[in-house]
Symmetry: C2
Subunit: 569 residues, 2 copies
């Protein structure tokens, strides 16, 4: 058991951007990056002056509206140190980390902030806070790592009642590992690294690694119906959660940990993805697995997206392999990745770079469009060394049959080390007045190419209509029996602060509209919040949306629990 | 496309028992069976006179309460032939096939029957019937194959309004196979054999084979959250369903077929298991798989349950094998199975029997209790011949390490052929005044032994308290990462018709109570209906039960849709 941290010890984002102030994206060691962004989005890093780090003192921060008497009652429940209402922490806890959120905090566009941040240390404290919220008609917004990009933790600007943010970060223990069942009971506030460190000390892993891993929590994963980069093998969070506890207005909901059941509609599946609208998840029971003896990430190259996707489909259809993940970058993303390669500093690195140059020259002679259409793919294998070798051999044949080649494990090792640093690039780009954003979706295999084309077309038209030069790229990040997730990343350079959000919004809308028009879902793993809400009725249909609305209204008729999220009212 | 059948062509149970009148359980060709039942439950088949087949004319069948004007309106929607209100069909459609149901129909204990059976041929007809039901304040009970054993299709005896049974059997088409995505759109009324015949003609399978397969439908599987004997590999129905359509009081719910999504609470998971309380499922999109080139069922023997369960656990934990199913019979079930073996009629059969006798003699010498504790296990492998051979070899080693031996594929082939005939045994036993019933559950691996012991103890005490001699057996029917399903079968010989249901009920309650007391679920794949309802609040907790109740009340405030099922009111 790790010690319960104090409120001040709970990890948090810097108020103006992603993650830690001590980590940032650097361009100097990546010689191809500046030329790439100059060509693709017209940004000349040699002449562009980055915006300075914003200073909170220069902004007008709205005062907390929490009455002193209420504050005292909260202190009575969680203790003096665990009720915080200073400006900086109220700003941090009032926004996720979407493109809109980042722009708003950097420009001091705070509108309506939470009035206090409360840090409970136990389920009893959560229950006592919820009772007070209902009794005094307050608003409660549960908060995990604050990494969401769809507005799930941001207060409604029109809300007149006092708003509390409930930061679950003190509740971060792995409470119990049932080694026979392969189940771990975990407090909801455990961040990804907290969780995996406590488990790996005993030889276990959950295998859930969203890009937000460093700044997201177990409870947040459940509340937003998260997926991770190893979900091919370990499942989405909805598959991994086997039981949970939630403080609900009518009492504590206990979903007992069971492998399966056939007892009516799934209560657990009502809670997964509910984004705080039904209550506060305090504990989750997760499937855990023994850490595999061997793990290898192998890189492959395909001449283009169509070949790559056929390869991915064939791997998914093979009954003989079960990779931990299968990822395919399209041509633009592959070109972007190559622009991010660091200048080799060691003799070994220089040899590797030379080998790569030789390979690319060979592929060019074979007719591959190495700079635009070539696609890189990563496939991860885990198991005994015998089974990893066998699966690698089968996948190598599948890749070959689909026109691709294997690059071995060198590039894969690099991928594995860098995977959680990408979010820092968005802050770097914003410094240069460029939004970097993502929209993810899932569709059946039979429609993935159509969706891919349609989204690029929608993005291009939305940018052209505004006279903007931009760049989009995409990867297939997870595969399922019936289809796969496509993850689009796109840049929107804006012209001035006044029209920035409008310019970005037009592009985001075009992308999401394209999902709906081509049989893809609104959101594969980024939840709904407020930013995806305009499409929820198209996605779930009017009857489905009504069922969700009814679920929330029954639990929370007074709209005290994170109101306005997912569906409105 | 198969032709839409007329109402008269829809397959149905005989009114007094399971399935077809032309199939029944025979004792003459099973020399060990009569001695076995004499020893275990004190029933002497040599002297017992079977009760005659009941005659409907001898019973008082309540009249239909459907007003003539309403009948005419229904005829206007579905046609004259598709509204049926004769006595026999009203009896057939007012009961599932639980022990209680079978006893009640055989003794003419009809109480309250449905007033008419309506056979829609399209979703439009379903919607029109539902509109009429709401407009005229009628009750609608959707009906698939009528194989449920928890009362899901039986009307509330206190219901005063006219009650319609909606038999979905005319809607049995596989509408479309998306070969790329591996998805099939299927009408809800397709019976198991309908579905697999249409799919296998194109080289596909769903891989969902509940014991009720011959008399259950796709819509029924979804509405009761079904599981099948190959769910280890293909998943439970909740995993197989990727989209659906349901006629709901507020319109038609369309859950689009998508591989995954993160858009709030799962609407699909509210519908799965809802037993008609939210509306009528009309269409389901299912994952389909190419029929495997090689399929083998291998039999194994363990000296006792503890060794067998350890073997099963080790197979489930192996990352190197993925069997289609893994089944383990305990000692009593193994003894029962051996009592069911047919007398060999061919020279080959006689050789096999001799070999078995020799093997058992050898095992006895090794100290195995062949007649009481020895456990038979079946594991099914599918794939290429290479992968089947590799997996068989790994499982053989696992079995050996856990004290078991492999018997090869001979007994497995027999198992595969006989799997859907077991329900007929219950009718045979009832002819001799013996209830044969089942209760299934699931629990984490860490508690399976405890649950197994506790259920046997509870059964034994409940029988002794009533002075009854009975027999119980159990198998582990599916395994999951976190646990497995235990499936208990038990006999309750009753003394006279007047106290029969009371005697049976005391035993059933004891078994279900033991599930709750030892961390197991109320029902792994037999839904809730009315017969499992006394335990739903213990299983889902008061808050969870309230959430389910709220879901139903929001959709159906007038309680027109299969009222009283799962939760009450």
């Amino acid at each position: 058991m790790t010690r319960t941290p104090t409120a001040a010890e709970v990890k948090r984002h810097t108020w103006w951007g992603w993650g830690s102030e001590d980590v940032s994206f650097h361009v100097d060691d990546k010689p191809a990056f500046a030329p790439f962004v100059r060509k693709q989005i017209g940004l000349d890093l040699a002449t562009s002056t980055p915006q300075p780090v914003p200073q909170l003192e220069t902004f007008d921060v709205p005062d907390s509206r929490l009455p002193a008497a209420l504050r005292q009652q909260l202190v009575g429940i969680v203790g003096e140190d665990a009720v915080v209402d200073d400006d900086e922490l109220r700003v941090v806890h009032s926004f996720g980390r979407s493109a809109t959120d980042l722009f708003r905090v950097r420009t001091g566009d705070f509108e309506r902030l939470v009035d206090a941040v409360v840090y409970p240390a136990s389920e009893e404290e959560v229950a006592a806070v919820l009772r007070l919220v209902l009794e005094k008609d307050l608003v409660l917004i549960p908060y995990g790592g604050g990494s969401c990009i769809s507005g799930s933790v941001t207060p409604d600007p029109a809300e007149q009642r006092p708003i509390l943010c409930l930061n679950m970060g003190r509740m971060r223990q792995v409470l119990e590992i049932d080694e026979t069942a392969g189940l771990a009971r975990v407090q909801a506030g455990a961040y990804g690294p907290d969780l995996e460190e406590q488990l790996s000390a005993e030889g276990w892993t959950v295998g859930h690694f969203p890009d937000s891993f460093a700044y997201s929590t177990v409870g947040g994963w459940a509340a937003t119906r998260s997926s991770g980069m190893q979900s091919d093998k370990y499942g989405d969070i909805a598959d991994i959660v086997r039981g949970l506890r939630m403080v609900h207005p009518q009492g504590t909901l206990v979903v007992r940990p069971l492998p399966s059941r056939s007892t009516g509609p799934s209560v657990q599946e009502m809670v997964i993805g509910s984004e705080g609208r039904l209550g506060v998840i305090t504990e989750v029971t997760l499937q855990v697995h023994r850490i595999a003896p061997v793990r290898q990430v192998i890189a492959y190259m395909y001449p283009d997206w169509e070949h790559g996707l056929r390869g991915m489909h064939a791997i998914a259809r093979s009954t003989e392999v079960s990779p931990t993940f299968t990822r395919l970058s399209d041509g633009p993303e592959t070109a972007f990745s190559l622009s991010m390669v660091k200048e080799p500093r060691s003799a070994k690195g220089r040899v590797t770079a030379k080998v790569q140059d030789g390979l690319f020259a060979y592929l060019r002679r074979r007719g591959w469009k190495v700079d635009s259409e070539m696609c890189i793919s990563y496939v991860c294998f885990e198991g005994t060394s015998e089974s990893v070798e066998r699966q690698k051999s089968i996948v190598k044949q599948i890749v070959k049959r689909n026109g691709g080649i294997s690059l071995g494990s060198g590039p894969g090792a690099i991928y594995d080390q860098k995977k959680f640093d990408t979010p820092y690039l968005r802050d770097f780009l914003l410094n240069h007045r460029v939004f970097g954003d993502v929209s993810d979706t899932a569709a059946p295999w039979s429609r993935l190419n159509e969706v891919h084309d349609a989204v690029y077309g929608a993005y291009r038209r939305a940018m052209e209509a505004q006279g903007l030069q931009g760049f989009m790229f995409c990867h297939m990040s997870h595969s399922y029996h019936a289809g796969a997730c496509l993850y689009f990343t796109f840049a929107v350079p804006y012209t001035d602060d006044a029209s920035a959000l409008e310019q970005y919004g037009a592009v985001k809308r075009a992308v999401q509209d394209a999902f709906q028009e081509h049989g893809a879902t609104l959101s594969h793993h980024h939840a709904v919040g407020t930013e995806h809400q305009p499409w929820i009725e198209q996605d779930a249909g009017p009857v489905g949306t009504g069922m969700v609305r009814g679920l929330f209204a029954t639990a929370d008729p007074g709209r005290n629990l994170n109101p306005g999220k997912i569906v409105s009212p």
